[in-house]
Symmetry: D2
Subunit: 377 residues, 4 copies
Amino acid sequence: MRTGVWLVGARGSVAVTSIVGASALRAGLAEPIGCVAEHPALDRRALPGFGDLVFGGHDVATTSLVKRAETLAAAGVVPGRLVAALHSELSTVDEDVRPLPHAETPARTAAAIQADLAAFRARHELERVVVVNVASTEPAPEPHPAHASLAALRAALDGPQTVLPASSLAAYAAFEAGCAYVDFTPSTGARLPALHELAEARGVPYAGHDGKTGETLLKSVLAPMFAMRRLAVRSWSGLNLLGGGDGATLADPAANAAKSASKQRVLGETLGYVPDGHTRIEYVPDIGDFKTAWDLVTFAGFLGTPMRMEFTWHGCDSALAAPLVLDLARLTAAAHRNGRVGPLPELAFFFKDPLGEVEHGLAAQFEALAAFTASLR
Amino acid sequence: MRTGVWLVGARGSVAVTSIVGASALRAGLAEPIGCVAEHPALDRRALPGFGDLVFGGHDVATTSLVKRAETLAAAGVVPGRLVAALHSELSTVDEDVRPLPHAETPARTAAAIQADLAAFRARHELERVVVVNVASTEPAPEPHPAHASLAALRAALDGPQTVLPASSLAAYAAFEAGCAYVDFTPSTGARLPALHELAEARGVPYAGHDGKTGETLLKSVLAPMFAMRRLAVRSWSGLNLLGGGDGATLADPAANAAKSASKQRVLGETLGYVPDGHTRIEYVPDIGDFKTAWDLVTFAGFLGTPMRMEFTWHGCDSALAAPLVLDLARLTAAAHRNGRVGPLPELAFFFKDPLGEVEHGLAAQFEALAAFTASLR
Amino acid sequence: MRTGVWLVGARGSVAVTSIVGASALRAGLAEPIGCVAEHPALDRRALPGFGDLVFGGHDVATTSLVKRAETLAAAGVVPGRLVAALHSELSTVDEDVRPLPHAETPARTAAAIQADLAAFRARHELERVVVVNVASTEPAPEPHPAHASLAALRAALDGPQTVLPASSLAAYAAFEAGCAYVDFTPSTGARLPALHELAEARGVPYAGHDGKTGETLLKSVLAPMFAMRRLAVRSWSGLNLLGGGDGATLADPAANAAKSASKQRVLGETLGYVPDGHTRIEYVPDIGDFKTAWDLVTFAGFLGTPMRMEFTWHGCDSALAAPLVLDLARLTAAAHRNGRVGPLPELAFFFKDPLGEVEHGLAAQFEALAAFTASLR
Amino acid sequence: MRTGVWLVGARGSVAVTSIVGASALRAGLAEPIGCVAEHPALDRRALPGFGDLVFGGHDVATTSLVKRAETLAAAGVVPGRLVAALHSELSTVDEDVRPLPHAETPARTAAAIQADLAAFRARHELERVVVVNVASTEPAPEPHPAHASLAALRAALDGPQTVLPASSLAAYAAFEAGCAYVDFTPSTGARLPALHELAEARGVPYAGHDGKTGETLLKSVLAPMFAMRRLAVRSWSGLNLLGGGDGATLADPAANAAKSASKQRVLGETLGYVPDGHTRIEYVPDIGDFKTAWDLVTFAGFLGTPMRMEFTWHGCDSALAAPLVLDLARLTAAAHRNGRVGPLPELAFFFKDPLGEVEHGLAAQFEALAAFTASLR
């Protein structure tokens, strides 16, 4: 079951933490903390093991993985001793991280991506490859008529214009290469009718969107709690302070808007109504790779009595995301192997903005996930 | 389905808020916020309606319900306009609140309690009566050999000594009178082999212990979240600041110990291990009928990265408890009607320290509750 | 020493709370909690007493003060029993609250304001009148050449165009009428060279800007603490959630910007450098007249060790502001009586964005205030 | 001005951080963050420089300073690069850290301590030595008649019994050896009439008690803020969660009581009344060398409106304490040189429980400190 994990944004914090972690797990240097697939309630028999995963990817940056890992160690994201112990493993993966292709037309760029995927697969004799997007969040793209059908899209990609955002072009190339695709970011990715058509045509599954790493994870258990107890949530306001690379990107209002909408979706879906309030994202460089989120929830109890709760979450986004990237790669590869095609709503547990009409309460999502793993061969 | 709700501690804040609320709901003056039985996922057809409930109870205090309700209104627990509108309803209930009997032997005290219950039932032509303990928390009692069997207990109750704490004597009397019993407090109540034997003999159900109104409610969704995500909780520490009547009682170290143990149980049961830390309870009169709980959770993520979350819950305990008292009375009465005998583990959703071997995650408890309501006729 | 207090925005929450409070203090129905002038370290001998204050003002709204006070009582801002006891006092003040004049030219509007001030003074035989702006925050106005000198301003006011924002026109009219002026808001008020010239010409003092009621009050003691301890503040981020009338106004980006700048000024002035981070203001209707502010401060200790503190402030802005309005009216009247002309930097204690080159640490400001009161005759 | 700093508890976290830091400052490897004496408002001319300080001390532990420093680096208390760069400096200090003497009588133990101090002074040709107690907090000792006078104490020390707690015996020996003494802990130290008599007889100054490193530092600016604003503090409750060595000691109820009393003193002294509430200390190993303190303050505003604030302080106690240890050593040495004898109330800025009748507001304490430094020659 040798399985390739092709990371778009392979030199970013999430990707490097994933690669360091998988190497450490394979070497027996770490416990699989945060790895959902290792939960006793899930059936792991059909999943590739940590030792079966082979990493590669694309990035515009060129800093070596070892250097990036050392930076993460200095920031407290990964232990320095692991980076020191895994130098040669990281250098090996480095050879499979390629510059992100850019050609005169989108079609040619896609072809170059496909060629990289095919070469990676052949070089390592991989049974299959899962492409995982962990690049920076994109602004929401302009709608384009070519998004509506595969035929229109193919025609448009041959022209010189940008038709698809990078995340969607990556999905296009992945599907064409027969690879499953996971979008861990709020970017568009595979969420276009033309790409859905392509996934079906090529017989590959896909999953997304936007890994549920912190504040939204809490919302996905707290909002159902208020709902089950029939307490009336009046307002839910939050501030996210981020210092890492994605923080600077999200400070851009367009990306911020995409992310904020994704973060509030769980409230309407689990409460059945949308309370007052917004979630703001702000870039504060000193906070570094950690994120501090503060939320205030005001609610009414019996006879309207006003009450409130607040929480502060101080987590390391990359360390929260990386084990989920491994989980998603393993689960999506197994789904592909089992002949699943198109969106995988059973993986909603992992996402802020899951594909399909799914439950938004975390406990229900976990049950769906457990049932999914039990169905795999 | 006229159903009696006999409140032990009928002039306390929880009881008075329950009575005001039930009267307001019956009169159409309030919405059933916080009433779990009104959740669309539960089947209400077999439950008595708010209009079917008739209240009475015991208390050592003598202040009228109207006066107590006015005090609660001044403290922001119930709206003053409701108290003003419900004067006559409260005065009517007042006639059914009797001084707590106290005779020379426990057996005679129990007989007097039974007589009060029988008179209440006859006076209002009630189909059945549920006794609900909402009195102040007791210190954990000394073990006594007579707790082990009904025969030994009966013999001991005839002597002059205190054999049972008040909550257990109330359960004894309730069972003897053919009434179901609910313990909303952490006191001993029906949790003795002798009383279990009696409940079986009399064919009545019982439920408990310790209503899940605030911090533990949060724990029951947050601890499963950490478990599902395989994050390793290292410590969970809390401080509860209470100003109301129960606060003063719980400041007593013995009662405090009983309550704190009840509050940490959910962690071990849902995480599978017990993290560092304790929950402290402290009495701060200025906080009044509200409670502020602060919890700090430290946890390790992928590769051991240390992270943390904290929350503050600022709730009105009486307003959180009262709708659950109504829920429990309705559900327990229906269980009794359906021939259920002994402990009701399906009501674990409501309790910090539920009876039986049950799930401790809130979502699983809610499912069990929904299935239970669907099974009732 | 009968002293008039003319409130611009006399039917707003701050004004009504000030009027209810002054009436209650005069009637002996309340303690002067929050009244700085009553601090034993200040010399009150030269100040008018609560019983010397006579209230009037302008407002565009027409709801009676009694109605407004009842609304505030329902929201928990003032005690209902005080409103009930002070009906007739509030109705009397109501007669002195006039519609805000609006004429064809700014000069005529100002003349109408002056006429109202003169009539108020004559009607009540007042020794002097202090005009206090407690109206909603204005957006920052466009610069205008007429702001630079009194002569140019006078010429421009005779035209049909808006030359001054409302707060500045009120200051103009106050000065022309020989009245001192206090700006409790972040609006422009008297902060224009032309108005400074006028205050000097008329021999009247003025004070401002932006009452220090919550988060900035905390900053004014916490920032000096970090400075005195030589701890290096790296970032200071905040979110203010407001539900009251001013919240909706401040949600307007232009007003928000004015207010936020005012709130961060204390950091640069007391730390000597400006850390990362911003203060956001957000309107959340459910929070009502209360305000919840959350701030996160990250700082470095010895050898660069990263540390952090956060605070949540949950206060009622009107109840925090009202006693300061009384303080400022009393202190400014006494300054006027003592012949003080132009800005009063000694009142910096009360303001987020004080006039002049002043200390920004609260303790130093308090000492300056105490020295000021000691100097008054 | 070569000045010895003799640390009681020289292998503890505070001591080691102080030694690493002083070495780093001397070598130009770090900025003096957190060093109050470097504040521009203080006059440093009479103080020994960082390069003038020579370290030694007593400890029962024997782990080398390098090992201890490496442990602190792993815990994030000091930067690993500094420890690596300062190996030889730390090893040199190690030679001056001696086992804590213990003889058959207290008098002989004291004589052995004096001998160590004299040898240290001679070996390094020091102008003077300041003894600083940074050992673990002791339980409050039993009162003893010999504490009342120097003559009685001398007689008692010759017997076999324990007359003085370790901190006081250290002060005794320091004074006999002509050394100034600083108590950075809440232990008894020099606070006994007999020891005061001895300090006067030997002409040495002393300072204490209990370094103000976190929560109490905040109280010393927040309580004066409430006082200056005449807001009525109703309750002030706190929970301190500590994981370091001192945490385990303070979990002992007797030491906890001593510390908690010290922490609440500032409230009564600055507010003029003691609000409801307590400060609890709890040991949570996972928190390590950091400390998380949470405080809730409830207060009344104008017309009694209830409001609240809470704060969380997450600091590294050793990193907060170490620069103050350097400050105190430098300031106390200069006081000694200037002929100061007995308690030094001007150093109240540094302590939770300062000696003498002093101001408890931080700003007033800072002014007293600045005036003190200006008076030194």
